[in-house]
């Protein structure tokens, strides 16, 4: 894939924006709360913990979004960069739908990583490997993954990561055919349902054997 200067700039600024909406999440705190026993304070409240975490994440991301906008505007103003905009409104709409799916997808991935705290002490190590290293590389946060060799790209597409940041940005740049857009939305949706099921299953299993000691 050939990237022009404006494509690269749009991609980098897009990563800043999507990173603040999709990747930055406070669900990582849940793992430590499970380990410390602090989670019991939430469990006895008449509120769904997942809904609480989701509401907190949305509030957090609205704030992130504001800061990301300011950051992007400053960069555009200082360096006088120009960004590529989608050719039509339909692409913008599809982009936004994809971002919403990606937002929920990452929310669930991050929750699963935190829920693993029910069984393991190595919550930060697990998150470092899957939620930082693999996620940053395979989701296209560090560089667009389509510059990688085809064999590696095929492997990366078997994971949910490219649907978080890379796919929405490719749709925004208008560099992918309609089949790709449809496939990307469907596969993301599949991952979303799969991770929803896994999250619920693990949460129920984890709570069954959970014991928190102390005050």
């Amino acid at each position: 894939m050939n990237y022009q200067k404006s494509h690269i700039i749009t991609y980098v600024l897009g990563v800043i924006l999507l990173d603040s909406i999709i990747i930055a999440s406070r669900t990582a705190d849940l793992g430590a709360q499970i380990k410390s026993g602090e989670i019991v304070h939430f469990l006895i409240r008449p509120v769904s913990l997942f809904k609480f975490l989701l509401a907190r994440d949305i509030a957090d991301k609205i704030l992130n979004l504001l800061f990301a906008f300011v950051e992007i505007l400053v960069i555009l103003e200082v360096f006088k960069f120009s960004v590529d905009l989608p050719k039509d409104l339909f692409l913008i709409l599809i982009f936004m739908v994809h971002v919403v799916i990606s937002f929920f997808l990452y929310f669930l991935i991050s929750l699963i990583l935190s829920i693993s705290a029910f069984w393991t002490d190595e919550i930060w190590a697990t998150r470092f490997l899957f939620g930082v290293i693999l996620l940053n590389f395979f989701s296209g946060v560090i560089f667009p993954i389509d510059i990688l060799p085809a064999w590696l790209l095929r492997i990366i597409y078997l994971t949910p990561f490219p649907y978080l940041v890379f796919s929405p940005l490719k749709i925004w740049l208008g560099q992918v055919p309609n089949q790709y857009i449809l496939k990307s939305l469907l596969v993301s949706f599949f991952w979303l349902i799969f991770f929803w099921w896994v999250t619920n299953y693990l949460w129920k299993r984890g709570l069954k054997g959970y014991g928190a000691y102390g005050g």
């Binding site: 002490d121 190595e122 930060w124 190590a125 697990t126 490997l129 290293i133 590389f137 990688l148 590696l152």
Partner: protein
């Protein structure tokens, strides 16, 4: 005159003894940290795996970039790889030595830093050297071996003077890195904020993963003078390849001394304004 000379020698001996004592304490602290880390085997394996994957993926990225042109801003493929390897060496070495910064905030917020100030150690010892990640050491050893093999195999050294200069500027890099970490700790004392500051530092150093000539002149200026990332990472690599001008060499050395002096002054300034957070 003779008494003065004897007194001076005595003072020097005491200083050396003090440094040796600090090294012994650091070795003890590092050994305890390693024992604690190695108790949780899986965490170590996962962290190590993550670091290796990150290194390999960046390496792959480098090959993809260099795939068509075989050069980047006038540097050959081997020279660009050398910059990348040397970035990793300095980055991991500084993390290995100065990992304490990452666990300093809880000490300040809880007020437990007061207890460290009572100990017969320099006040900056715990904030900077208070934690050592043994995984960094495990990563460093094969990286050094590969680095040495790479420069010998590709004939990237032309004379022994370049090697001496390389090690000299590597030491200078550690001094600059120490100063930057101490600056961050000083800000933590004043504001209890450290995590974002250290992330900014990490992001800026990441800019030197590749030859810094790829950036505009203005950005290069910022990365040399106010935030000396180029001196921290690019200068030793250039010294090794014999590409460092004597002006830049002198300037880098000067920046190292100035930053060290300023960081200690700023640390003292922050210490005077430190009020225990919880007591």
């Amino acid at each position: 005159m003779e008494d003065d000379a004897k007194l001076k020698i005595k003072n020097e001996k005491l200083k050396i003894k003090g440094v040796l004592k600090l090294i012994r304490v650091w070795l003890m602290v590092s050994s305890r940290a390693a024992q604690s880390q190695l108790l949780t085997n899986w965490a170590g394996v996962l962290f190590l795996l993550g670091k290796v994957i990150r290194f390999l993926l960046f390496f792959l990225f480098l090959f993809v970039i260099l795939g068509k042109n075989n050069s980047l801003v006038g540097y050959t493929r081997e020279q660009v790889i050398l910059f990348f390897l040397e970035f990793n060496l300095i980055d991991i070495t500084t993390q290995f030595f100065f990992r304490g910064v990452y666990v300093f905030r809880p000490l300040v917020v809880s007020g437990n830093f007061d207890l460290d100030l009572l100990r017969p150690l320099p006040s900056f010892f715990r904030p900077i050297f208070g934690w050592t990640d043994v995984l960094d050491l495990i990563t460093l050893i094969p990286l050094w071996i590969y680095f040495i093999w790479f420069i010998i195999f590709h004939n990237l050294i032309f004379n022994s003077m370049d090697v001496i200069l390389f090690f000299f500027f590597l030491l200078n890099s550690l001094i600059v890195a120490f100063s930057l970490h101490l600056f961050v700790c000083s800000i933590c004392l004043l504001t209890t904020e450290i995590d974002h500051m250290i992330m900014v530092y990490r992001d800026l150093t990441n800019m030197a993963r590749f030859p810094t000539e790829i950036y505009q002149k203005g950005i290069q200026f910022i990365l040399t003078f106010p935030i000396p990332i180029i001196i921290l990472i690019t200068v030793p690599a250039k010294a090794l390849m014999g590409l460092l001008s004597w002006q830049m060499a002198g300037f880098s050395f000067l920046i190292g001394i100035i930053f060290l002096k300023w960081s200690f002054k700023f640390w003292q300034y922050s210490l005077k304004r430190y009020s225990s957070a919880s007591s």
